[in-house]
């Protein structure tokens, strides 16, 4: 059987997705370990198959890609940090996880440079996995409804579905809502607009049930961004602001308000999971979770100040954080992450390593910033380019409040997003040619 390079790439995308949504394999403690293993199996199989499908590899072109360069720089600093690592074995474990992501990124860019990845494939994968995630999460909620059990904050853990915790799930759901709208716009049929509205509303409702404040904050900032960008567009084009934002209003804003109204109806207003109560804790000063994060950040900054050159060694923050937070630890439950990947990367690999890590996201932003010009061009699909910014905003907020760089599901989303950016910037791909 002959497989064309395009189908080979489709097969890779499918296997990569399946490796993220893989079976849990019995009693494994951390699902991420299974995902890293299956992703590395898929990477290995793809790498050994590539010479069979591509005669001219031209890897020089590949290694000139700025995203790959910045991530390789971070990895190099991570390897150098082995010299100072307290626990070198844990450093090696983490370095190999970083390599797993680097290889996946390299494979994606290799395919993108050959125009073998289709935008619609990526958008469909995003939409299908969104529905899968929501189904596994809301299955338990449906069970509660059928058994007339009123929803309460204590039941949130029942809704984490396929993922380790509610913050991860809420973020990855939110991340894909703009991509779902882009898919509907690409398909451009009323039925798909309606389905997008329906899935979007359920997705927002799912996020509200999960009560993840990082996701709520992201929604708020996305809305502010959309308001600013549409004003910016209006300033240049003087076109009707409502008509210009029709899809965003109907498929992003309206589903959110619908979900909000439904949540007000189904969640007791005295319960912690009630949307308004949850949002109030974001701005409150006595919230334990918020204060804990601030404490973790100050620990990471202290560590960076003391170890600016090579940090404490990649993969070793989980050890050092115990020393810093010892007075607050009871029963061996340790901080593990700094809840800010930029600070954690810098604390582990030093200032230069942190700068390389940060530069990865700055390069991504620079690629995105090209779309600003398209936003003010009256001939361009302004909503499409505006929506492209939202997953980036959501990811960056998550990066600053949680630890997406450690979670294969978040990294998978990031790779899908990178594909979408590259596919809409042919010039950016040709730059590396």
């Amino acid at each position: 059987m002959n497989i064309s390079p395009k189908n080979f790439v489709r097969l890779y995308l499918l296997l990569f997705t399946l490796s993220i949504y893989t079976y849990r394999f019995g009693e494994v403690l951390d699902r991420a370990t299974v995902q890293y293993l299956t992703v590395s199996i898929v990477n290995f199989l793809t790498i050994i198959s590539i010479p069979l499908f591509f005669k001219n590899l031209n890897l020089k072109k590949l290694i000139k890609d700025p995203l790959l360069i910045s991530y390789s720089g971070f990895l190099l600093m991570a390897i150098l940090s082995l010299l100072v690592a307290l626990n070198k074995v844990e450093s090696l474990v983490r370095i190999n996880q970083l390599f797993t992501f680097l290889l996946s990124l390299g494979i994606f860019i290799f395919f993108l440079q050959r125009n073998l990845i289709q935008l619609k494939d990526i958008l469909w994968l995003s939409a299908i996995t969104l529905v899968i995630d929501m189904s596994f999460s809301l299955e338990q909620y449906v069970f509660m409804i059928l058994n007339e059990i009123p929803y309460r904050y204590e039941y949130i853990t029942n809704l984490v579905g396929l993922h380790g915790n509610r913050n991860i799930l809420a973020t990855v759901i939110l991340f894909r809502i703009p991509l779902l709208i882009i898919l509907a716009k690409k398909l451009n049929k009323n039925i798909f607009y309606f389905i997008s509205f329906l899935i979007g509303s359920i997705a927002f409702f799912n996020i509200i049930l999960l009560s993840s404040r990082a996701a709520f904050l992201s929604i708020g900032i996305c809305v502010i961004f959309l308001a600013l960008i549409s004003s910016y567009r209006y300033f240049y084009t003087r076109k009707n602001i409502l008509r210009q934002n029709m899809h965003i209003i109907l498929l992003f804003i309206l589903p959110f308000f619908l979900a909000f109204q439904i949540s007000n109806y189904v969640i007791d207003k005295n319960d912690n999971s009630y949307f308004t109560n949850r949002v109030q804790t974001i701005v409150g000063s006595d919230d334990e979770s918020k204060n804990t994060r601030i404490r973790y950040y100050s620990h990471a900054i202290s560590h960076i100040v003391k170890n600016p050159l090579l940090g404490g060694g990649i993969g070793n923050w989980k050890i050092y954080s115990i020393g810093y937070d010892s007075k607050n630890i009871q029963n061996y439950i340790v901080p593990y992450n700094a809840h800010n990947d930029i600070l954690e990367a810098t604390a582990e690999t030093g200032l230069l390593g942190g700068m390389f890590f940060l530069s990865f996201f700055i390069i991504l932003f620079l690629k995105l910033s090209h779309f600003f010009k398209k936003i003010i061009d009256p001939d361009n699909d302004y909503q499409f380019y505006s929506l492209l910014f939202l997953p980036y905003i959501i990811y960056i907020i998550d990066l600053n409040l949680n630890f997406p760089s450690h979670r294969p599901i978040n990294l998978y989303m990031l790779l899908l997003f990178i594909c979408i950016i590259y596919l809409n910037s042919p010039k950016l791909i040709s730059e590396t040619k």
Partner: protein, 339 residues
């Protein structure tokens, strides 16, 4: 062109080697993640569903920390000590300390081992290490508490207790403190110790050992032990000589006045002797002193006593409270109170 081909081949080989390395590392990480699921119950709950030879083959080197940053070697050390392989276990514990020197789990286990074998210097050394690393871990406080008792530094123990009990509500912390105070309360602020003993009784109302230790602190070991004996005699003799029995339980209460179990027994004894007025008097006294955490069965005796004294208002009010808390009441009470 040929140079280009060679460099491509070179890069490809490097990428291939990296991918094999990453695959192997991720496989090891995955494998040890599954092994942890078997190791943890064996260490924490001493279940023995897995044979020793499984742990002989257990990979402890890559990765060497669990999903919660605990050194796997420390857990293996704990496992082998439980299996009486002390030397092997201690070696693992020392190695575990190097892999995560901040968590103090190895120190905690080593301190316990050294105490068990009577090497008090080493016990003190590792206990201090443990508490220095995680000062608010209740298990570490339990260790340092024993060290302070050994060194007769009761004021240090009390100071540390005040600091840790404000942050952690853990029964072990209170047990160590109360045990130490049974014989040492006059060496520190006695008023504060008595206050803490009363707080402990409220905080761990259903914990028998905390109640006993608190009573020891408040009333002294001799009186508490005498009161326990009197209670046993009272219960054994009730059906043959109820007056004698009531007298004994009242004596027990004179020795340990706030023993709720004895008050409940006294209520039951008066009730079974149809002395409803006395039942209500005791209940009123308990209410005045704030002792209101009575068992549902005892409250039902009080309800029936009220009803027999024709005080339907108070009896039915208590009955409603029990019904609201899903307690089943006898039909005689329900007939009177709910018509």
């Amino acid at each position: 062109m040929k140079q280009n081909k060679n460099s491509n081949f070179f890069f490809f080989i490097i990428i291939l080697i990296i991918s094999v390395g990453a695959l192997y590392s991720n496989y090891k990480n995955f494998y040890i993640n599954i092994d942890q699921v078997k190791l943890l119950p064996n260490v924490l709950y001493q279940s023995d569903d897995v044979k020793d030879d499984y742990f002989e083959r257990f990979s402890v080197d890559y990765p060497n920390l669990t999903a919660t940053a605990i050194p796997i070697k420390s857990l293996m050390g704990a496992y082998w000590i439980q299996q009486d392989s002390i030397e092997k276990g201690m070696e693992y514990l020392r190695l575990g300390n190097k892999q995560n020197p901040f968590i103090g789990l190895s120190d905690m286990i080593l301190a316990n081992v050294y105490q068990a074998v009577g090497e008090l210097d080493s016990f003190t050394h590792y206990s201090r290490n443990a508490i220095r690393k995680l000062p608010n871990a209740p298990t570490h406080y339990a260790l340092i508490g024993r060290v302070y008792v050994l060194e007769n530094k009761i004021d240090s123990l009390a100071t540390m207790f005040n600091s840790i009990s404000n942050k952690v509500t853990d029964v072990e912390v209170w047990k160590v403190y109360l045990s130490a105070m049974v014989t040492n309360k006059y060496k520190v602020d006695t008023v504060e110790v008595n206050k803490n003993a009363r707080i402990a009784k409220e905080l761990f109302a259903n914990n028998e050992s905390v109640e006993l230790l608190s009573d020891y602190v408040l009333y002294g070991e001799d009186d508490v032990n005498e009161s326990i004996k009197l209670r046993e005699v009272a219960i054994d003799s009730f059906f043959s000589n109820s007056r004698y029995s009531i007298n004994k339980i009242e004596k027990a209460l004179s020795l340990v006045p706030d023993n709720l179990s004895n008050w409940e027994t006294l209520i039951e004894m008066y009730f079974l002797n149809d002395k409803f007025k006395e039942v209500i008097e005791i209940y009123d006294d308990l209410n005045r002193n704030g002792n209101t955490q009575l068992k549902a069965s005892v409250i039902e005796y009080i309800i029936i006593s009220y009803l027999n004294l024709q005080d339907l208002g108070k009896g039915c009010y208590l009955a409603e409270l029990l019904l609201e808390n899903n307690v089943n009441l006898s039909s005689s009470v329900l007939n009177v109170c709910r018509g």
